[in-house]
């Protein structure tokens, strides 16, 4: 197999890798915010349950969560395993990444000084208005570098989808490596991931620059 055919075959899998990547971001970024708000809830029960859930999700491997969400319902209650593996894969990835994003957002929100809330109160802002118009824009600016970190990790984590037989780019690379007894597909995969992440870096850099309007 020539290098070109190898690259073409693996590019076909790249669309599936991108599907995991973008769908996970679309679901986990807002979900993370919801989790943060629950975690910061004044209600002790809600906040401690959320806290426990986050610690379970952050404390167990994503690979295990993938297996649990894909095959768990079948083993526990005999439900059928999904034919389209993208569904369980995106669910598992979104839940996992939402937990990390939630903690990043929490750090961002906590970093805003109390004085700003007091000032907003004096100026007659409601709590919702204070959060949406004053706190959130600052939080987004502050957490962006940490978010970029997670997004870069997500690109590489997509290869874990192999454990539930989802044919993304790395799986196809493995198949080729295997049938050709060659190491080249792994190098190709490495280049693909690196270029993907270089793009992520570039885009996130642009966004950061755009939001950096006070400097």
């Amino acid at each position: 197999m020539s290098l070109l055919t190898m690259i073409i075959k693996m590019s076909e899998g790249l669309s599936r890798t991108c599907a995991i990547f973008f769908l996970t971001l679309i679901f986990s970024l807002p979900l993370g915010m919801v989790v943060t708000l629950l975690r910061r809830s004044k209600n002790k029960i809600i906040s401690s349950i959320t806290r426990a859930v986050i610690s379970v999700i952050r404390g167990t491997p994503l690979m295990l969560q993938l297996l649990a969400i894909t095959y768990g319902p079948y083993y526990l209650v005999g439900l059928t395993v999904s034919r389209n593996k993208l569904v369980p894969v995106v669910v598992a990835f979104s839940i996992n990444y939402a937990a990390y994003f939630a903690e990043i957002y929490r750090g961002g929100i906590d970093s805003i000084s109390k004085g700003q809330y007091e000032a907003a109160d004096v100026l007659g802002y409601t709590k919702t208005q204070t959060f949406l118009r004053i706190i959130l824009p600052q939080v987004i600016k502050r957490v962006l570098p940490s978010i970029t970190n997670e997004v870069v990790t997500l690109v590489k984590d997509t290869s874990l989808a192999f454990t539930v037989s989802y044919q993304e780019m790395f799986t196809i690379g493995k198949e080729i490596a295997n049938s050709q007894t060659s190491f080249t597909p792994f190098l190709v995969a490495g280049v693909f991931y690196f270029v993907f992440n270089a793009l992520v870096d570039f885009v996130m850099g642009k966004i950061e620059k755009k939001l950096n309007y006070y400097h």
């Binding site: 095959y71 059928t80 799986t171 198949e175 490596a177 295997n178 049938s179 007894t181």
Partner: protein
């Protein structure tokens, strides 16, 4: 300016510490006593307790490594690391007691006893098994491994075949699938890196293109889970593995079609010709004294296809 100097100082100190640690790991890898000695001198200068501890560790590690190397060098008493796929019953799997067992594992254990090797097991990643063999992580691949011409062409030493294997399609009993023709448009699972996967890519290409989708799993147990859970309609698998699974799980059947036969053998690195022939010799002896048959009796489904017992 003062701040700048302070930062610069902090940076240089941390960098030089890092360099020391780098040397430490290099010493462990190089496994040369000289490197360890130089390392010790350096740590004295650094007078950092944590780093010192590390150097001691590196020293013991390198000692262990030299001993291991010595053992490997001698033919009679040494370690023999068997490379297996731990999810491949009945040939190699984790038994009820948590130890590795299976037909191949038991035979290999007996061979090691005969030849005076210390038996050890290494779990290979099946689709990278030959790379791991080359890297010296194990001394052979012996786990229901199908012999391919490409392996011999690539220089690996392959033993005489010991098992005749047949590939079968396993489906659910109530699926209404009775021949491979019924598989058109259906989902079929296969384990990556197995002979089944290779067959579907090559000789059975036409059959494979009639499938709705070919799903690649990283273990047979996952293939069976997909089948049980309804995500696929059939699993293309080695017959003994399927028979073993069906003995414990009801509701499955095999399609009675011969989709290709093959032979199992043991793979060694290209420079291990002697090792290979000594193991083949031990197997012949075991067949002669009946101990081979004794192990085989525990796996009645395999006996019919064992080359050594049907010569």
């Amino acid at each position: 300016m003062k701040k700048f100097i302070a930062i610069a100082l902090a940076l240089t100190t941390s960098l030089s510490l890092l360099a020391c640690q780098g040397n430490g790991s290099a010493a462990a890898v190089n496994d040369s006593t000289e490197a360890v000695e130089t390392k010790e001198e350096e740590t004295k200068e650094a007078s950092e307790e944590a780093v010192k501890e590390e150097s001691q560790e590196a020293e013991t590690e390198s000692k262990e490594e030299t001993e291991a190397a010595k053992e490997e060098g001698s033919e009679n008493a040494g370690k023999f690391i068997m490379g297996i796929d731990p999810e491949y019953p009945p040939f190699s799997y984790i038994g009820d007691d948590g130890e590795y067992t299976g037909f191949d594992v038991e035979v290999c254990k007996a061979v090691c006893e005969k030849l005076g090797y210390d038996f050890d097991v290494f779990e290979v990643n099946w689709d990278e098994k030959l790379i791991q063999l080359d890297a010296g992580e194990c001394d052979c691949i012996w786990s229901g491994m199908t012999i391919y011409d490409t392996m011999k062409e690539a220089g690996y030493v392959i033993s005489e075949p010991y098992f005749e294997n047949v590939q079968v399609m396993m489906v659910k009993e109530d699926s209404g699938i009775n021949s491979t023709k019924d598989l058109a448009g259906k989902y079929v699972a296969v384990q990556l890196g197995t002979s089944g996967a290779a067959l579907l890519e090559d000789e059975l290409k036409d059959l494979a293109s009639s499938f709705g989708d070919l799903v690649t799993c990283d273990s047979f147990l996952k293939c069976f889970t997909e089948l049980g859970g309804g995500a696929v309609d059939a699993v293309f698998v080695d017959k003994p593995v399927a028979v073993d699974y069906m003995a414990e799980h009801e509701g499955y059947k095999l399609l009675e079609e011969d989709l290709g036969s093959e032979q199992y053998g043991i793979a060694f690195r290209s420079d291990d010709k002697e090792l290979c022939s000594s193991i083949e010799g031990a197997l012949d002896e075991m067949v002669a004294d009946g101990s081979y048959a004794a192990i085989a009796d525990k796996y009645p489904d395999l006996v019919k296809n064992l080359v050594y017992l049907n010569k």
